[in-house]
Subunit: 336 residues, 2 copies
């Protein structure tokens, strides 16, 4: 007997992750592949179309029918029907039909907001209508969840919390503004600021008992994860992490005062560090708020699969199932 | 023939404004009266109930029927049915029925959000689903309008943009936090900061050709409106106004990046200053945004009547008319 399912795709700047998700909630994850943006915008679109077709073929073979819908999480400015603009992929006004073969119903979503939708339905935000999903990755953008749905503002440019100023006369951000949250608290910022700090630390003030310092200085490539790990014993790492947490506390205090969320869900690579970031952040967020309690901070639950699982929700919406929210069950990763 | 109407009341910390508004949009404004909070929370509730009863009696005499509904804009944390908490009036969990005689259907709304609702339906935000209504008064709070409705967050504590930090290590705010927008940019802040600045300005650096300076120093009570007026010729006033506009630009840049509004509607006493504030603010807001355009700034259109007209919208909702939005016509102010 055929089993109905959707094709779900999370398209990032460098790689994309695909899956098949049945109506009953069985999730099959496929190996990711490169987005291949260096080949140009049209090539990326063609690559996505091919990947969707291959996933649909794999689904047809497994489940005995064509997919009921396709959901795609993509970066940039996006409506359900059109990828309006994506700076890093070079897109302008690409209709959803370009990504999907054979007229299968399909819906597009903004990458971060689609991840927030998945956390809302299946993850840390289950049962909560109003929260912030804040993945701390190479950059920082958030999904402002309002009344159960991620909210992109008047034209889909919302959620750019990473470029709100925490210290308005502070460090120059790559975006051209000053003092942006992202320039202190993203994974990219932690790695960059730590590298800069140890490069300018006078030799005699380096803790010689910390062998990684010398190594880092010679290699010049310490990851954000390593900065967090070193913070317990390395002054430069502790300072950089401390400033990141301060920046997050300032920004989340403003978010809390403005939008009164039920909770704040921290995701991304840095979010996975867990208590070492969330505990001091919760404390400093409370310190920044004098006349109201802070909302609880929660670690995101879906990790790197948030975008793909959100895309599955969009795929089921394309298929007319807008209240789809089963218990998910994962099957082993496989190839199409 | 009887004419249907609602009773609309805007309850502030010191005074309340009442009106009658017919279904066709005829607005009759009544003289305001003191809220009388010094007599205690129960007395304020009783005073409101009396005022509503008098307005209803006036309406019955004029229109030949009892009011179809009552709308009340009140400060604090509020649901449609209960005034949950108001620090400045001492309220806790006051049901809407306490304010309204004879079982007339009634709905409560948050004061600033009710003003934002009125600007959305009748004022500067007409036809715009997503905007910020920001009245700059003695204090600062905003109405975050999302999808056509003011949004108060998970528990009604939202909109406190006046207490988001613009310079997080800046001046101490009365709320206990540091660097709040309100402590630089409210009408209260302009008056207070100007008075402090001229009190500490050395005699010889005062522009002696500016007679108001000496006057202000002796009286110690220059209003925000006067500070704005003096800014063209008085260095201290220009500095204080300049810092207020900087603070607003920082705060509105963050709002724009986070919530992507279609426009920002500036109201309150300072908003009525018009271009002298809005023009430099628009310029500096644009300067604070590197990768997106700023939303347009607009002056609020309803002035001090915003709260009462929003309360009328709530009154018609209480009466079951949730899509009420006539063209308004004012009749002369009268007494009940």
């Amino acid at each position: 007997m055929p089993v109905s399912y959707v094709v779900a795709l999370d398209v990032g700047g460098t790689s994309m992750k695909g899956g098949l998700v049945t109506f009953a909630g069985e999730v099959t994850v496929f190996p990711g592949r490169d987005t291949g943006r260096e080949a140009g915008p049209d090539s990326v679109v063609a690559g996505i179309r091919t990947y969707v077709a291959e996933l649909a073929a794999a689904g047809s073979a497994t489940f005995g029918m064509a997919p009921s819908g396709v959901g795609l999480a993509v970066p940039g400015i996006v409506s359900e029907a059109v990828a309006l603009y994506a700076a890093n992929l070079g897109w302008r006004d690409v209709p959803v039909s370009s990504f999907v073969p054979n007229g299968i119903p399909a819906v597009l979503g903004h990458d971060v907001r689609t991840g927030g939708l998945a956390e809302s339905v299946f993850g840390a935000g289950r049962g909560v209508a109003d929260f912030l999903f804040l993945p701390l990755g190479t950059g920082i953008a958030g999904a402002v969840v309002v009344g159960g749905e991620p909210y992109g503002g008047a034209n889909g440019w919302g959620g750019e919390i990473g470029h709100t100023a925490v210290w308005p006369d502070g460090e120059k951000c790559a975006c051209g503004q000053r003092g942006c949250l992202e320039t202190y608290a993203s994974a990219g910022a932690l790695a960059r600021r730590y590298a800069a700090r140890i490069a300018t630390t006078p030799e005699q003030s380096v803790t010689l008992a910390e062998p990684n310092n010398a190594q880092a200085r010679s290699q010049g490539a310490v990851t954000a994860k390593e900065v967090v790990e070193r913070a317990a014993t390395d002054t430069a790492a502790a300072e950089v992490l401390n400033e990141a947490i301060d920046a997050l506390a300032i920004s989340l205090a403003s978010y809390t005062l403005l939008l009164d969320p039920s909770m704040i869900v921290i995701g991304g690579g840095l979010g996975e560090a867990g208590a070492v970031i969330l505990d001091p952040l919760a404390e400093r967020l409370a310190d920044r708020l004098s006349f109201r309690k802070p909302p609880p901070l929660r670690q995101a639950q879906l990790g790197v699969q948030a975008g793909m699982l959100g895309a599955a929700i969009l795929g089921w919406r394309a298929a007319g199932e807008s209240s789809w929210r089963p218990d998910l069950r994962a099957t082993p990763t496989r190839s199409p």
